[in-house]
Symmetry: C4
Subunit: 193 residues, 4 copies
């Protein structure tokens, strides 16, 4: 089974998710800049989610570029990841429109948490299908970021009910951690080839 259509389908879904989120930024009725003010929290949520979907697309791209073989299990693990990512626009809109209310922050963190778990499952299956010596297994290594993220999201969810801004800081922090250039796969490829 070739990975071409898996990539094409995932690209399609991710492209739509990232673009649909803009639809949550409803065109205001007023015609001056003050009409944009209530949109600020929506826009901030949108930027954060845009960065997250971008990170997932980037990592997904990297992960699949290292493998040759895909199985039925990988296809379903991939759909599972896309399912949780497809809830991002909803969680983003709910959080933005309610100005980061506790429950909406917790829900946003929950969607991020489920995405990170779904990504971890997919990564496990990809490594399994390609053997423990594959480039990806080598590149992921101890996978500090991957293991840290679910914990930090959980802390963020708990913090939502205590102090919203701390929860926001956790979610922004994890995004920044992933944005930091990560040359593991590139390094692994050079070392092995």
């Amino acid at each position: 089974m070739t990975k071409g259509r898996l990539e094409a389908f995932s690209d399609g879904v991710l492209a739509i998710i990232i673009t649909i989120m803009v639809l949550e930024i409803k065109v205001p009725h007023g015609a001056d800049f003050t009409a944009l003010k209530p949109l600020v929290p929506v826009a901030l949520s949108y930027i954060l989610s845009f960065v997250y979907v971008g990170i997932y697309w980037n990592n997904h791209h990297m992960m699949l570029s290292t493998i040759d073989r895909i199985s039925g299990g990988i296809m379903w693990a991939n759909s599972h990841l896309l399912f949780w990512l497809s809830l991002t626009p909803f969680a983003t809109g709910w959080m933005g429109e309610n100005h980061f209310a506790p429950a909406t922050l917790a829900m946003y963190g929950l969607v991020l948490l489920m995405c990170s778990i779904a990504y971890w499952i997919l990564q496990r299956l990809v490594i399994q299908a390609n053997g423990p010596d594959c480039v990806l297994a080598y590149a992921v290594g101890r996978d500090v970021k991957g293991k840290l993220s679910p914990g930090l999201y959980s802390l963020g969810i708990a913090a939502s009910f205590w102090h919203p801004w701390v929860a926001g800081a956790f979610y922004v922090g994890v995004a920044l951690m992933w944005l930091a250039p990560d040359r593991r796969i590139e390094r692994a490829m050079i070392k092995r080839h």
Copy 2:
């Protein structure tokens, strides 16, 4: 005629269908978890339809991976399948927003029924175009699942007016039947090559 663009177009339409359904989950106005309660039936419908579109994408991918030649008839049978699949978000939204009312459950089953018939027609044409000895013909074999599904959907439609939960059980049951790993095409490929 190459199958590349047929796959690309189908991937695009399926990716949009699966993602558009999320738009049916309207962001609630309340900011606490109780505001999410009315969304539970919508979310359940969404999960079921996500799984169904995922199954169709998976099977469609498998089917086309076994063939080389496509004809004008295949292109139209494919569009016909996409037409019925494109009604899924509508049927999902109607059923979810009306808390699985009888008419909406029957309509949902009708769309599933038409999708399964359209898929069967496409499969027939693909086998015809590639000869009775092609991998797909061998893999499909007696096609128990494919023949059983329309019947089970019909029973579900009838049950909608009798007891909604029975109809729901039929629709969930058929999805689970298709989710069960199906190695027919993989086996057929190994045997023949």
Copy 3:
């Protein structure tokens, strides 16, 4: 310049257009079948437009499969065609929601007319870029359908204000004319190679 991305971009836009039209079929508030009754004209418009976009995708696919070279002019003629096609969901929704009122029927015909002109321009440029001996030039030949369509759409637009059903008959008729198997390109390819 390769045609790969031109095809990918066109496939994407056409897949979105065909799927967005479903969004015009708004989920009704009632939960029984009578709630679907006002949707009948919307659904009929949707089916007709689905068939038209399908025909354009099919013909577009055929046309580009015959060529090797694309120019800047072809890229813009393609965007011009996509522009008019992107107005289809709007014209479809307006016509369906207003139960085929004269002005809406005329507008629908106008969009179809502009699409057919834009397609004709694109076809001219493709033939020009590849020489009068190319497969496409040979296949199109006297291009009876292509020349007839704008005239029939114009008659349909005029008939909108006289008797709506005649206009509808024109639009359905042209669609059927294009649906009839057209082996020109296939024949031309066999004769020349």
Copy 4:
């Protein structure tokens, strides 16, 4: 790292952006032509934005066709460009629905300005990754259009508050400047190969 998926993802996002803008043209409730009159400014905004997204797709296509290597930096610069382009439907809708009010014209210009800066950054990184002797570096040359555009957009933003039509003239003018055939990359490729 291959550029295939970068192109596919960008094509997907651009295709969705260009098509989503049509959703801003809301189907009117009236059934005669006068009902379309309030849509004229929305339609004009849509046409301008369609042309702009078309220009970006065209140039993006050209730029990536000249390169072989992509880096993590290029992937993020590309996402950054897509982010600003994804705000086009919002800015277009706000401007159109408010009949080109000053603040909405300035906002539209700001989005165009940010897109042009994001494009410039991406172009820098692509040239850097491929060396100062690459086809793109040669083709871009002094990059008069690329340097002029941000200045003209800024003038347009300033003019929004002085006389709206002057701002509009700036935005339309820059689009026309880019529409004018630009054979730099084609020339550069011929000269070097």
